[in-house]
């Protein structure tokens, strides 16, 4: 465990050194991240000025959810997309050996190999958006609520990791799908809307089979005092289930994988 923690720290350090070596890249992408946040707020403001509600969220609630969405998007864009973007190509070109031949768990290596720090601006902007939303709702957080929502954010991050990792497994079974890593990052955008916008059929799918609708809405609904204990239990259970399913499929995929003479 200590070895893995130490490796994790080293990967972080290397990524930080890379970010600081190419500083202009880092600053430009930080600026882009801020502009995306502004555009998200503009989009929701324009949409809600016409519709007043989305699902059962009003403007203040939509802002809180958007803030959580921005903060959790750090895990998607700054961590997972950076780490996973090479995986389908490594598999289709038979270059995964580089990871498999190391004396460390290959899933761990693939999952933490690269970080980008330009998305960290989303933490600040997301926090501001949540505070603005809560102010609009006239709501104040207790210390207990704050810790609980941080915990739910962490569980949501693990769920995002598990579902993203799970979504990559077709790479092992198709000859070449080098764009499969875009699937999760693209549909992650759907998480910023409440599950109520979907028809009952899709709502069931998106809260169980492919639980996109839970990632943002559970922490947000908890803040609005609407998350039942059953929903919170289901949220934790699904996270564990996807973690194990991803692990199982990874191992099954590795058994199927054949190298290209490295």
């Amino acid at each position: 465990m200590i070895k893995y923690f130490s490796l994790f720290k080293k990967f972080l350090a290397v990524s930080w050194m890379l970010a600081m070596e190419y500083r202009s890249d880092f600053f430009i992408y930080t600026a882009i991240d801020i502009v995306w946040t502004i555009l998200d707020v503009v989009f929701f403001s324009v949409l809600l000025s016409n519709t007043q509600v989305i699902g059962d969220w009003n403007y203040g609630q939509a802002l809180v959810a958007l803030g959580i969405f921005r903060i959790l998007s750090i895990s998607v864009w700054s961590w997972l997309y950076s780490s996973f973007s090479q995986l389908p190509r490594l598999i289709s070109e038979g270059r995964l050996d580089f990871y498999l031949t190391k004396p460390v768990d290959s899933q761990f290596l693939i999952s933490v190999s690269r970080f980008s720090f330009s998305g960290l601006a989303s933490f600040v902007s997301g926090t501001f958006i949540i505070i603005a939303g809560l102010n609009r709702l006239g709501q104040h957080l207790s210390v207990w609520q704050l810790f609980a929502v941080i915990w739910l954010g962490l569980v949501a991050t693990v769920l995002i990791y598990a579902v993203y990792f799970f979504s990559l497994f077709p790479s092992f079974f198709a000859e070449r799908i080098n764009n499969i890593q875009h699937v999760f990052s693209n549909i992650y955008d759907a998480t910023k809307y409440p599950p109520q916008i979907y028809s009952p059929f899709w709502s069931r799918i998106l809260t169980s089979v492919f639980p996109l609708a839970l990632m943002i809405s559970v922490p947000a609904d908890f803040l609005f005092g609407r998350a039942s204990w059953q929903l919170l239990f289901w949220f934790h259970l699904l996270t564990l289930a996807f973690l194990f399913a991803g692990r199982y499929l990874w191992l099954a995929g590795l058994r199927r994988y054949s190298s290209a003479s490295s």
Binding site: L39, V42, V53, I54, N186, I197
Partner: protein, 256 residues
Amino acid sequence: MKLAWQSSLVYRGERIVWLLLEIAPAVLMINLWQSLLRSGRIDQSQFSFLSAYYLVNVFISRISGVNLEDKLIDDIKDGRISNYLLKPLSLPLSLFAQESSWRITAALYLLPLMPFFLPLIGSFTGLGVTHWQGIFFGLFILLSFLQKYFVAWIIGLTAFWIDESKSLVHARWMAEGIFGGIWLPLTFFPVWWQKIASFSPFYIWYYFPARLLLDPFPIPQIIKGMTVAIIWTLLLYLFARFIWSRAKFHYSAVGG
């Protein structure tokens, strides 16, 4: 053309993933509007218009989208465009041919889904589209394809001077969203915003052609839109040519 078709058949999985990625946002927005229809915040005709709007935009994106920037930037940075420069063929023309072929095959992948699309669009447009609507729609799509190609080409060529040229692709996506009406029809935005958007090239990339098909503008406005579109196409073409003529002198590569 033949090569593009063969490649699109061999790598079916990838092509289907791209198709799904283009359809997913439209399906999401249709679900959103459907929920507002269920709650009585919009009526059936508004819902039909919005559903048709997003579906037409998927179609427009399929037949006129250009995404060559990332590869062009990588090829320039890694010195791989030497292959083109050493042969008696023009890089911009060969990329144009590749993109055109890719668009045709991309549209073919959409065909199996048309039986699902057409009733939704047809239910809004009534009996169908008039000849004039079809002709103008085709012309605007052609102009928007040319503009998208020139913009992608210009963004790609910036790799000769700056390291962060891929960040400009984000700027294009943002402009498409706020001026092109790909996220929301521009009628949702304030009037001053719509006026600014109408003078940008992005206006005819999605919003204008979609409106032309679903809720046509009066003839003077179509002529104004066409004039602005032609001027932008010419300006972008001249600028792309100018940049390429300068860029070639900045290029250096090793090996080969």
